[in-house]
């Protein structure tokens, strides 16, 4: 857990409010025990997840990395109460995922931006607030503020199709941040973007995370991305999906893209790669 850069937390009441309730690194936000999920299919049951144990603390940035089909998205969907486990338990903020969802405890960022094409950028960000019954003026102000945070000031009246893929994904990040959930669930949010855009998005995400220090679960395919962003990297293997290695990052809390080329980062990347190799079965 990186130390608290109090000086950097400026002009965001977000942080102040969180500070009242949860700050201590020992606060377990997500607790997953002996979790498993088996899908019943027509020919044979498919074990998507098996014997998963994982604890995530407040303020951690946890990456789930693994090959396609290793169940990392499924695991996150269980935390979000979008899937139900068949074995074991998961708790979010000490309650069941379902109760956490009903309390709107998390913001979910999907692989695609999932913007509503008939709403302009501003009104897309306002959507969660409309559903939560936030008064018009307040939600407009929030949407504007968070669009500014993700660098989209001036694009409020544009419609999704007028934006590039990277900008669309930034809108979806603003939308998830804007109602101030303590927990962000990010499912390969930059997977569909080109390398250059992805780098820039990583940089911006680092800055946003430094400002807000939300707890983040981040699903990715990219070793670089996981190393650069995470305070903890969870390496998973496929069929059945299980956890191979949990790596605590040795990188300094304040990072830039160049941090990826430091010896510590390269060493981390190596360990992740070894873990992925170990989890890969060649049968």
């Amino acid at each position: 857990m990186p130390s608290e850069p109090t000086g950097k937390v400026v002009d965001l009441p977000v942080r102040a409010r969180n500070a009242d309730t949860k700050t201590a690194a020992s606060d377990v936000i997500i607790d997953i025990r002996n979790l498993g999920l088996t899908f019943q299919t027509a020919d044979a049951p498919v074990v998507a997840l098996s014997n998963i144990n994982l604890a995530i603390h407040a303020g951690e940035f946890v990456s789930l990395i693994g090959p396609s089909g290793c169940g990392k998205t499924t695991l996150m969907r269980i935390v979000a109460d979008l899937e139900q486990p068949t074995e074991g338990t998961a708790t979010v903020n000490n309650v069941s995922p379902r109760e956490a969802r009903l309390k709107r405890a998390y913001g979910y960022i999907f692989q695609a931006a999932a913007l509503y094409p008939w709403r302009n950028v501003q009104r897309n960000v306002e959507l969660p607030h409309e559903i939560m019954g936030v008064p018009k003026e307040e939600r407009e102000a929030k949407a504007r503020r968070y669009l500014e945070l993700v660098g989209l000031k001036g694009f409020e009246k544009k419609f999704p199709w007028q934006l590039s893929g990277g900008m669309q994904q930034r809108v979806s990040i603003a939308r998830a941040l804007s109602f101030d959930p303590q927990l962000l669930l990010m499912d390969e949010p930059f997977g569909a973007l080109d390398e250059i855009t992805r780098d820039r998005m990583n940089e911006e995400l680092l800055q946003i995370w430094e400002k807000t220090r939300k707890t983040v679960i981040f699903v990715t395919h990219s070793i670089d991305e996981a190393v650069l962003l995470s305070t903890k990297i969870v390496v998973m293997s496929a069929r059945p999906g299980r956890i191979i290695d949990v790596i605590d990052s040795t990188l300094p809390p304040s990072r830039t893209l160049e941090t990826r080329e430091t010896p510590a980062a390269l060493e981390l990347a190596h360990r992740v790669r070894e873990g992925l190799k170990a989890g890969h079965s060649y049968d």
């Binding site: 979008l82 709107r104 979910y108 999907f110 695609a112 409309e130 559903i131 199709w161």
Partner: protein, 297 residues
């Protein structure tokens, strides 16, 4: 015009359209000669046995009761029965078109509403999906020509005549495409868009109004265009068995009683113009709606 009504802007399509119309008109004139020449030659050989081909063609295009009237005859009759008569006159096609259009629009309004309500029910209630859908489909396999007279007679017996029975037939026809299109449209949001709503703990009502309904709008308009066209057909069919005195259907029927083929054809054209106008009005509303919600126009 192009800027205001983009949905009907020509954008270089004028020439092809004119060319197609010209070809149709030419073929029509040829067909008129082909279909009318038998009767014309009988007539001509009585009065003037030495008639030329030119005489025959001229006579075929100017018959009083032709098998197939020439386009200019229809055009003249259309003009006479619309522009030169008071719109309240019983011989004015505008009057008849108004009678038919009002039944069409009432039937369309209720049919579209019924279609949307059925679709909303089917999308939300599984048992309705199973139980209603077969009936909805079955309702459309019954020929409307068989059902229309029964509706007219049954309602006539209880004293309901005029607009209502015709509107009911229109409604019967046009709820179907709206229901089918809206079921598709209300189910069109992708899983991600639905999951997003779930993460916000949105109620079914909110999912309906903020996701399903806006997503279904393009489907709705496509269905409405089909619906209003068949709604017009329904109203006209409703006028045929009722012995109605007014309406485009009545006009066609009286034309066929008295062999007034030109009158039938001009009523037909009036119906086509009316149908096109109504479809275009819907296209205009669609265009304005979709533009306001950010569609690429």
């Amino acid at each position: 015009m192009g800027a205001v009504f983009g949905f009907m802007s020509p954008k270089g399509r004028v020439l092809p359209i004119v060319a197609v119309v010209a070809v149709i008109i030419l073929l029509w004139y040829a067909l008129a000669v082909g279909l009318n020449h038998q009767r014309v030659s009988d007539m001509l050989s009585d009065s003037n046995p030495d008639y030329t081909f030119g005489d025959l063609v001229k006579a075929a295009w100017t018959m009083e009761r032709p098998v197939l009237p020439a386009p200019d005859q229809i055009a003249v009759d259309l003009w006479k029965s619309t522009a030169t008569l008071k719109v309240t006159s019983k011989r004015s096609l505008v009057y008849h078109a108004y009678i038919t259009a009002s039944a069409t629009l009432v039937g369309f309004a209720f049919g579209a509403l019924l279609g949307v309500l059925l679709a909303a029910g089917i999308v939300h209630v599984r048992t309705l999906d199973r139980s209603l859908m077969p009936w909805i489909i079955a309702s459309q396999t019954v020929p409307i020509l068989a059902i229309a007279p029964m509706i007219i007679v049954v309602l006539g017996n209880v004293g309901v005549t005029g607009l209502i029975p015709k509107a009911i037939i229109s409604m019967y026809l046009c709820f179907f495409p709206v229901a089918i299109g809206m079921v598709k449209g209300l189910r069109s949001p992708d899983p991600l868009q639905m999951d997003l709503m779930r993460t916000y703990n949105a109620s079914q009502w909110q999912v309906f109004w903020k996701l399903r309904v806006p997503a279904s709008i393009p489907f709705l308009f496509a269905s409405l265009k089909v619906a209003i066209a068949i709604s017009l057909v329904g109203a006209i069919v409703g006028e045929l068995p009722s012995g109605a005195l007014a309406g485009l259907g009545a006009r066609m029927l009286s034309g066929s009683y008295y062999g007034q083929t030109v009158q039938i054809w001009s009523a037909l054209f009036m119906a086509a113009i009316l149908g096109m106008a109504m479809v275009y009005v819907i296209a205009g509303i669609e265009w304005a709606t979709l533009r306001r919600t950010g569609a690429r126009t």
